[in-house]
Symmetry: C3
Subunit: 341 residues, 3 copies
């Protein structure tokens, strides 16, 4: 019943406030984010037991629609869907359907007509999953698996789950995000989530050339000097350095960047002793992080991977539940209408 | 007891007349076609319910053997097989097995020896699925997913299902097939099915350059002028225009073709008011059909897609049933033989 | 209690002697090899029944990690895993994950963190699966699907199963391996298995240029003249001729090789009348074997394919069992430790 971007009932929520698409963290309140984390926690246990299956999506069809190829992200969604007992169809759209001259919308209408229940969408263009959920196939649950520079909300949520596992609560935490914030769809989603969940401070640490204009407006403080920026940190989130940026004028050299913004043991020693180190992977050892830190006792990088499956299972099952509730509601409304007329 | 391609008990039927391969509509009587439609109807309901699974092919291995790549058709067969609970193996043969110098027959023998139960075959050469069913692996159920210019029988059957859903009966219907009949494997199968199911008239509408010689012998009337051809139609089936044909001398230009044989609102108004519009997809908007028609109230194009899954489930489960009956029969015959000797 | 490659309790075995990885036949005694064959025999029956599924790996995640592409081998492992009810993830590593600059070890750690239970590894480098099992992800069951020139142990075991099916016992058998032993990972594994299972003689038949130095030390006799070598044989195993070897100086010509070492009806007539003919496939008809022999009554080549699924099911389920026992043991040890301290 709470308010949103345009209407009284936000595109990604049902009228009752349940998730039915998962496009962005914007507009999702602390309660819903916590709900996702709690649901994911219950799936962590599923990953540990002998039979890693729950029947929540049994008989449902999940289509992985990757307009931008990413074996790693696709694999985590595929495993999550299979552990929910769904049927999974992998489509690498960049190389297939649209090649026959068919429009994107027609491809999606066709997949919907095959009784697909969920599209996991990865797209180089910001806003593509939002567009699909709003204007193309609103009755199919749309899960954003990364769109342009806009958002990568499941990545941000798996980070939140990892922080909560190690720090128990978000209250009072000081969290730094280090590196190429400008080009990172993950960073935007992370800043949003950390603020909503109530940390004490989100601090971005980067050279000015790798920060968006008005970055503070996103809800963070800025620090250009990493040595100073490490003070009092509970959590450090390193961003992946897109090596192709190096070739432009944005950065001096790989060695120079590592000296200033790479996370090594010396810099890490300036944070709190129990500060945890996170990275979305794949890591560039010696480019943005020292091997001894990536593999060290404060690193929780592999926990993030494990949590990635659990978060995806949570989001997929919740969005499916919301879609089904919405469809039921529509049927009920139709029935009432008929009685009246 | 003798079996020949032309005789009373066709290659694709068991001695009791059950389907065991699905290669062509030739030789399948009205009763069997109606049986396929009725079975598909029962699967439509499966697509609509929460758990879209039936256990009919549970533990069966279906191999998608695509010698000609087609993501769209492969996806529908893959989904159909999964909803029947089969294990599915996708093989893009054009790029793999035969590259080591192995013969096609050896590849198929190997797949059969892996205890495969069904091959879904797409091949650029007319007759390839028939050859496989007759001479290579007759004990594996062979489903034709399109062979050369010869046939695409599941496409034709999904069209029949769509017509029956909207018109209830085939009796008295006037059906037009419009466009490149010459190069269309779908058109051949459609004309066959429509005649067998007893429509009043099948009318092909096309320029002479896009018609096979003696097309009337297939069981249809011919109309070169589309405006005249629209009269009294209950069903219009548009064919996809293979743009590469344009480059040859067969057609003047895309614009010219659209003016003469494209389906727009003006032409459609000349048919019966409840005439339905069909297209096998993917559609070329503005090339063979106007967007307003493709998306309009008379279009049943997306119903065709939904029906495509149901028809494939029907054909796969029926052919599997026939193969199993045949194997059982063979065992019984062998037992009798032993008792006698 | 320490485990080394040379010690009493080998890397691929648990402390109780159960299989937990399957890397090589070295160090596996006759009892364990027989155990694998017996288990596979029980799965043969699974392949023949209507529902070809057993729930032994239900809820388990098997990742096919092919660093060297092989559709055929991958397909057999995929089918075996699916018939054990596992969830299967196919990764063609040569073209994906490592392309982002991530190290092999990081890719594997990530897959392990996604709660994968088993890696089926194919690698061009000898020893890669061993390295992974020892130093990277020892808690994931590693199955060697062929590594460099080193070993292809599931292929050798499916050959043993085929021999046992046709000859009942290994005692007293004379077995020849014919062809390019030098480059064959299969031949090494076969010689090892045949000796362990107690055949009377393993005879390699090849030109000197295609034999490793000191080949007798592997446990075989050598014969350069195939006509003489056929005498008294119960089993002939033909090796696949890698045509690319021809281009080097190792062999005179394809025709010459076939004349000297190709298996035709004339040569086969020199072996025992009930001698069986085997080949790992894919076969080069007319290059290393005559078609009439490959398809003849003494050929058991397609039985090998069928047995390949059963052997892979056996090895996968046994290794999974060993891994689970090992994990349980580790938990128990930890509990005891805690009680003591």
């Amino acid at each position: 019943m709470t308010a949103t971007a345009t209407g009284p009932h936000h595109l990604q929520l049902t009228r009752e406030g349940q998730l039915r698409h998962f496009l962005t963290l914007d507009g999702l309140g602390r309660e819903l984010l916590t709900d996702i984390l709690d649901t994911a926690d219950s799936f962590i246990e599923v990953g540990e037991r002998t039979i890693k299956k729950v029947p929540l999506l049994r008989g449902r069809t999940v289509v992985n629609l990757f307009f931008e190829s990413s074996t790693r992200t696709r694999s985590t969604f595929e495993l999550a869907a299979k552990r929910l007992s769904a049927d999974v169809l992998n489509l690498d759209i960049s190389t297939s359907a649209t090649s026959k001259g068919e429009s994107l919308a027609d491809t999606l209408y066709n997949l919907e007509a095959m009784a697909s229940d969920m599209f996991v969408v990865r797209h180089a263009q910001s806003g593509a999953p939002h567009f699909i959920a709003e204007s193309v196939t609103p009755k199919v649950a749309i899960i954003n698996a990364g769109d342009g520079r806009h958002a990568h909300p499941t990545q941000a949520m798996l980070d939140m789950l990892t922080i909560r596992q190690h720090k128990k609560t978000f209250a009072g935490l000081k969290v730094a995000i280090v590196g190429d914030v400008l080009h990172s769809r993950v960073a935007r989603s992370q800043i949003r989530a950390l603020n909503e969940l109530g940390v004490a401070e989100v601090r971005v640490i980067a050279p000015g050339t790798l920060l968006p204009r008005d970055v503070e407006a996103l809800g963070c403080t800025v620090e250009y000097d990493m040595l100073r920026g490490m003070k009092d940190l509970d959590v450090i989130i390193m961003l992946r350095l897109q090596k192709e940026r190096m070739e432009g004028a944005l950065l001096p050299s790989e060695g120079e960047f590592y000296r200033l913004y790479g996370l090594d043991r010396v810099k890490l020693a300036l944070a709190k002793p129990d500060c945890i180190v996170m990275h979305p992977g794949p890591i560039n050892r010696g480019v943005e992080i020292e091997s001894a830190v990536a593999d060290g006792p404060q690193s929780v990088i592999l926990n993030q991977v494990t949590n990635g499956i659990a978060i995806r299972m949570a989001v997929m099952s919740m969005a499916m539940g919301g879609q089904l509730a919405e469809r039921q509601q529509a049927l009920n409304d139709m029935a009432k209408q008929e009685v009246r007329s």
